[in-house]
Amino acid sequence: MSSSAEALAPGDASASQLSSFRHYRHLTLELAVSQFKLRYTRSLLGYFWSLLKPAMIFAITYFIFVDLFKINDGTEFYGIQLLLGIVVWTFFAECTASSMQAIAGNSGLIRKAYFPRSILVIAASFSSLFTFLINLVIVFIIAVGLHQIDVGLRIVMVIPLLVELYLLALGVSLFLSALFVQFHDVGHLWDVLMQLLFYGSGVMFSLTYVLQRVHLAGAQVAGHGPHDVWIVEIMATNPIMQTIEDLRHALLTPVAPWTELVMSGHLAAVNQYGALDTPWLVPAPFLVVAVIFAVGALTFRSRARSFAENL
């Protein structure tokens, strides 16, 4: 991650002379650790909040949807899959929200000391990432405790999936934090967008479940083919949805299929409504991550040189 800090530094010859990879790596970690500490000062439960929060959101969601409305995606592992979805979502939401303030909230540092500005955003994202990794371990332990897990070699896929998710969150954070310096509207706009994204990211339901519901609704209304499959197709390009789904498969249970299989139509034989026939959509989430990261990094890079003057 520190290498991207180097690349994003407002660069000139003397600045790169003075920058040493080790120094900036050390600074990034030091900032991340302090922010993690600061986030939980003045609270009785301290670090436990980072664990308690997703647990409480999970309890509420589970109570309303499963106990009250009796909604379930029909799989025996629904509870633990919901928990995993919430943990991933919480990471993305907290990471982007706190990283967005990383530049504007550190105006003193930026106006008085020189270092690559991206370090501040990376440090903020690290502090969320750290909480997220602890949460993932806890989800895993709970899953083992409830026997709601089927560990397989698939688990190695967790690492590239986490890298993908982190790059997405970092790309969005770089973009938002750079714009937030001059336009605070970005903060409000992002709040609204996050609400939309929450429903479009399969936190509560898997892609196949949504597809089934769309088919059922279409069949009830018109008696023939579904009209709203395009919504599911758009959802399938969402990298958050894809990483949540694939993490469920890799970490928890093969019952939740790889999104790749859902999209390419290879599952059609298993479940007539459970798959799309859109193999061209398979690379879409990865392209979205690449584009968002590139746009975020370039936006940040071009605006970073004027942060000190605009704050």
Partner: protein, 422 residues
């Protein structure tokens, strides 16, 4: 080896920097969208204009000038914080990333945590900070407060911590912005000790400060900035003297701002100043032509002081210097840090105040000799308003006398011509 033989540390060529200050301070998308066609309206501030200078390795250089003259902007460009709009800045060597003391300090963290965080910004590694930790805490005299949160520290404690951390930086070129503006006398002495060490080590130091005495004491050279232009580059003594004259004598008043109130080495200090009327009562509304006494007291703080001079300026509110007066105090009073000579009162009597109605001030400066560096300069030590019962315009009542001599013959000279033209 003379200074000119040494390698270049900093080279600044034709450097310019301007800030665009939006006239409407709204920074929302709505505003941008509503006015996307019309070019945004800005006021352009020329912060720096065509600056050229070089600093050689091991030089100790001071940058002085009034507030807003561009000193800090220049320092920030040297530190890579601001980008120049035009010109070139070449820097050979590692520059300290800090401009001020205590950058990165967080009040919610303990002294220990702050050392590691702020130290990381300074470029110090974790192992190195561990190794030097006791030294840093010891220099700051905070051994008992290592694990206390910074918010519970006094400002003096915080400054000591910041300074003892800042001097650990490895940089070859140190940039310091007003590090002397904080801290008490003993802290300033510590700063000076460190400066002396830097000089011995041959490090390059660029110091921005209002403390002119520090510039003359430690800097080989000084740069004087005025409204973004480099107006003087020369020996510290010459340039500070020029600056002192400029702020003392500026006729347009723009350079006497409320921000420059007092400076000097404080070897002798002004301890009080007042204006008295004929009856010996304090009176800041003297009348034109009335008796007025300006009285101020001094105290000698440094035993080494054997002579000093005082200068007093009467200044109109807009900065016009009305008059200047000197008194070599040590020729009239025994001066020394002994019980008897260490303090005293100086009086300046005006039997008939020659000022017309308006707002004025008294600036006082104590110096070793005339035009030497200030021991203590107090801007507007007394502010007063003169009342003129005759409501005349102008500044001074020069005390001239009128006379009219009537001519006896109507044939003589111009009064007749004057009459004929009517």
């Amino acid at each position: 080896m003379t200074v000119n033989d040494r390698g270049l540390a900093i080279q600044v060529e034709e450097l310019s920097k301007r800030f665009r200050i939006p006239l409407d301070r709204s920074s929302t998308l709505k505003h941008r969208l509503a006015h996307w066609r019309s070019a945004s309206r800005y006021r352009t501030l020329e912060a720096l204009l065509d600056i050229n200078f070089v600093v050689r390795e091991g030089e100790f250089i001071g940058i002085i000038g009034h507030n807003g003259s561009g000193k800090s902007t220049l320092l920030k460009i040297l530190a890579h914080i601001y980008r120049p709009d035009a010109g070139r800045v070449t820097i050979e060597g590692k520059v300290s990333p800090f401009l001020e003391l205590g950058v990165g300090f967080n009040p919610e963290l303990t002294a220990r945590e702050n050392i590691f965080l702020s130290g990381a910004i300074l470029g110090l590694g974790r192992e190195e900070l561990h190794r030097r930790f006791d030294e840093i805490i010891g220099f700051a005299e905070l051994e008992q407060f290592v694990d206390n949160r910074l918010k519970n520290f006094s400002s003096g404690m915080e400054v000591r911590l910041a300074f003892s951390l800042a001097i650990q930086a490895h940089a070859e070129i140190l940039l310091m912005d007003e590090v002397l503006a904080v801290g008490d006398a003993s802290f300033q002495e510590k700063c000076f000790d460190v400066f002396n060490r830097y000089k011995r080590e041959g490090r390059t130091v660029v110091l921005v400060t209002h403390e002119l005495a520090a510039v003359t004491r430690y800097c080989d050279r000084a740069l004087l900035l005025d409204h973004g232009r480099l107006v003087a580059d020369g020996s510290a003594t010459d340039v500070t003297a020029q600056y002192r004259r400029a702020i003392g004598l500026a006729a347009d008043g723009s350079r006497i701002g409320p921000e420059i109130e007092r400076w000097g080495a404080r070897d002798v200090v002004v301890t009080g100043a007042r204006m008295l009327n004929e009856g010996g009562e304090e009176d800041r509304n003297p009348t034109t032509g009335g008796f007025t006494r300006i009285e101020f007291s001094y105290q000698i703080l440094n035993d080494a002081v054997s002579e000093f001079t005082c200068v007093m300026w009467l200044v109109r509110a807009d900065g016009l210097v009305v008059s200047e007066a000197h008194l070599p105090v040590s020729q009239y009073a025994r001066v020394g840090a002994t019980q008897q000579g260490s303090s005293g009162t100086i009086r300046y009597d005006l039997p008939q105040l020659p000022l017309l109605e308006g707002d004025y001030g008294v600036n006082i400066e104590l110096q070793a000799r005339r035009d030497a560096a200030a021991y203590d300069h107090v801007e507007h030590a007394i502010r007063f308003r003169v009342i003129d019962r005759n409501e005349r315009r102008g500044v001074v009542e020069p005390g001239g006398t009128w006379s009219v001599v009537p001519h006896e013959s109507a044939l003589a000279g111009w009064p007749d011509q004057l009459a004929s033209t009517q």
